[in-house]
């Protein structure tokens, strides 16, 4: 029993870090800009393929790919912001949602064309290895992915709290008009923020690709996890996203270990429903929270 509890706690924490990594980009974009980026999981999928291609073609380790994904996906996000988001940013929420949904379908279908529908698995020298902590067995790949997720979350927090650009972005999140009046270049900073959100999605994709097999069609499953973390943690808050990810991870592993497995997702989605009911707010009220 003790061994099982220890295993569940360790696995829950590592899983939670990864979930927080998945939710981070979505939380930032939704919290500051109010854009419901349902294409978030499509960028996660691209991140997995980014790592896959670098590993397959050049033998680059996914840990390196995670670092390389940051600038590449930041650039990609900035381009998407300039070409698509600026056109739907001030339209009704439905139009923006449809545009992002269209982008998700487009990316998934491009993924099918380029990589086919076949599932891929990234197998490095450490993928199938593990180590023991007392009686618990821990997979190396989850420790590495969890550590990278924590580093990503930490970097995002430092950026938003200790840099001028980050503080300005937080100011936009609190009151966009007031920030503009104070001379903040909102358009430029939102480009940076969206790029940052997509960069987080890209890195999360690399981390997921390290652990789980992936295919273009499987990306939507991760969108549900990202929303679960974001709704639980509060939109736009880096620290809360981390806590929410850990809570979701721990609940999932404890439920998986001690109740019939088929009820695990029921428990998690009941939790989501309860949070939405208790807080009495939907995704549209995100801007009310500060980052």
């Amino acid at each position: 029993m003790g061994a099982q509890v220890l295993t569940v706690i360790i696995d829950g924490l590592l899983l939670g870090l990864i979930y927080a990594g998945i939710g981070l980009g979505l939380s930032l974009i939704l919290g500051v800009m109010g854009v419901v980026n349902v294409a978030h999981s499509a960028f996660i999928m691209l991140g997995s393929y980014f790592a896959y291609e670098l590993f397959r073609r050049a033998g680059i380790d996914p840990i390196i790919s995670a670092a390389l994904a940051l600038p590449v996906f930041f650039l990609l996000g900035s381009v998407v912001y300039r070409t698509l988001i600026t056109r739907v940013e001030f339209t009704g929420p439905t139009q923006g949602l449809i545009a992002m949904f269209g982008l998700m379908v487009l990316i998934e279908n491009l993924g099918v064309i380029v990589w086919t529908t076949d599932a891929r698995a990234l197998t490095t020298h450490y993928t199938n290895t593990s180590f023991a902590i007392g009686p618990a067995v821990v997979a190396w790949v989850k420790v590495l992915a969890g550590g990278l997720a924590l580093a990503l979350i930490g970097a995002a927090w430092v950026f938003l709290h200790y840099t001028l650009t980050g503080r300005a972005i937080r100011a936009i999140g609190q009151d966009r008009d007031a920030a503009a009046v104070l001379g903040i270049n909102v358009h430029q900073l939102l480009t940076i923020l969206f790029g940052l959100g997509i960069a987080c999605a890209g890195v999360a994709g690399v981390l997921l690709g390290m652990i789980y097999p992936f295919s273009p069609g499987g990306q939507v499953f991760w969108l549900a996890w990202a929303f679960l973390v974001v709704v639980l943690g509060g939109l736009g808050s880096v620290a809360n996203t981390l806590v929410a990810g850990l809570v979701v991870g721990i609940i999932q592993t404890f439920a998986g270990a001690f109740v019939p497995f088929e009820f695990v997702y029921l428990i998690l989605y009941t939790l989501l429903a309860v949070i939405l009911i208790v807080r009495r707010e939907g995704l549209t009220s995100v801007a009310r929270r500060s980052i």
Partner: protein
């Protein structure tokens, strides 16, 4: 007299012209392509298996036309994308039957989609050529109008493994079993059996193995660590995973990462070890068992060529089991239409039930419910490739057991 002759000549000319025209119309009709329609989940969660089906269909379409088509007419396959969604498939089958007016119908891939379209096909009194899914219940309900080429139905999926276990000395047999089942109609029947017949639970009980874990997981499960922990914690030396491709990949990898070494690990649902992604798992893929209807080493008609096609054109070293079943249904269609000499559904049905077909799955005959007589090979993934380990007459290697 002259006018009479002239009138007769005119009448003869008109009759000749009419005959020529009629002949031309008949010839034109005869040269109209035979339409064979169906759907596949070319996008969505069934897209990987569907892509294998599509490759086999396209290859056969080219080849059958090179052989002169069917009944002297070219063959055209009309395959729509059902997006792995039953509702979409239903509307597409209505279109195939009512607008395209296809001559022959192919079933979609997977029980999940197939079950939704069967009533539509039955309402049109069409034969349903099913290389796409298994379902004892649906074959029973179809009353012989569905012709299937899966060599075994859901309750028999784990049968090959348990027949193999029965052949082992007592000290080599597993003692404690864990079963993980995907929450979907097909895997549930693989686990529970059908009308008191077959099913993993029954096979486990009959083999005198203690069932220590019996869990099912939903389609959106992304992490299987807790499930694997349960089996490991219960000291199960046999894990039967009854699911689809992606979940099977994850369970295999999680078992390896947990340093858990069950003596028997079987992917007893979809035959996933013959799919390209399996080999990419590395060490986690090793020693997994899986069933298959046939294997290229058996050298059944068209099987070696199909295997070469997959290697050359699809860059797949292993021939997927789905491809074998797809090839088999097309061979049945070709032999049935040529043998019966007609597209009439009743005459085709009559011919199919009294004939033997030489196919990639072997020489097969159909039982009165439309399924072929049971036949299965047991594969084990060894040193990066699948080996046939049971039955003895077909085996290419001995099973590796601890």
């Amino acid at each position: 007299m002259k006018s009479l002759k002239s009138a007769g000549l005119r009448a003869a000319l008109i009759a000749a012209a009419a005959l020529l025209t009629a002949n031309a119309v008949v010839q034109a009709q005869e040269k109209q392509p035979i339409l064979i329609g169906g759907t596949l989940g070319l996008t969505g969660f069934l897209s990987e298996g569907s892509a294998d089906y599509k490759a086999v269909y396209d290859r056969w379409n080219d080849e059958v036309n090179k052989r002169g088509g069917l009944l002297g007419r070219p063959v055209k396959l009309v395959i729509y994308n059902d997006e792995s969604t039953p509702a979409v498939a239903q509307s597409l089958y209505s279109r195939l039957l009512d607008q395209d007016k296809v001559d022959l119908l192919l079933a979609p891939f997977s029980t999940f989609v197939g079950g939704a379209v069967l009533p539509i096909v039955q309402s049109h009194n069409k034969l349903f050529f099913n290389g796409g899914f298994v379902s004892m219940a649906m074959f029973t309900n179809a009353k012989g109008s569905m012709i299937g080429t899966y060599m075994y139905q859901e309750p028999d999926y784990p049968r090959g493994l348990f027949e193999f276990i029965k052949s082992l000395p007592a000290d080599k047999r597993p003692k404690r079993a864990a079963i993980f089942t995907y929450q979907s109609p097909f895997p549930i029947v693989v686990r529970d059996g059908y009308n008191g017949y077959g099913g993993a639970l029954r096979f486990v009980k009959e083999a005198g193995i203690e069932l220590v874990v019996n869990e099912q997981f939903p389609a959106n499960t992304t992490d299987f660590n807790a499930l694997v922990q349960k089996a490991k914690g219960a000291n199960a030396d046999m894990v039967l995973h009854i699911g689809q491709l992606n979940d099977s990949l994850q369970v295999a990898r999680t078992i390896q990462q947990q340093d858990y070494k069950p003596a028997f690990f079987c992917t007893c649902g979809s035959p996933v070890t013959s799919i390209a992604a399996w080999a990419k798992l590395g060490a986690a893929a090793e020693r997994a068992f899986s069933g298959t209807p046939a294997w290229p080493t058996q050298k059944h008609p068209g099987l070696v060529e199909l295997s070469e096609f997959f290697k050359k054109e699809r860059k797949q070293d292993t021939l997927p089991a789905y491809a074998i079943v797809a090839q088999t249904i097309l061979q049945v269609i070709e032999q049935a239409v040529n043998g019966a000499g007609t597209l009439d559904q009743e005459k085709l049905r009559e011919y199919i039930y009294k004939s033997e077909f030489k196919t990639a799955s072997g020489n097969i005959r159909f039982q009165e419910n439309g399924t072929p007589v049971y036949s299965q090979l047991l594969l084990q993934f060894q040193n990066g490739k699948n080996e046939v380990v049971f039955p003895a007459k077909d085996k290419t290697a001995d099973a590796i057991l601890p």
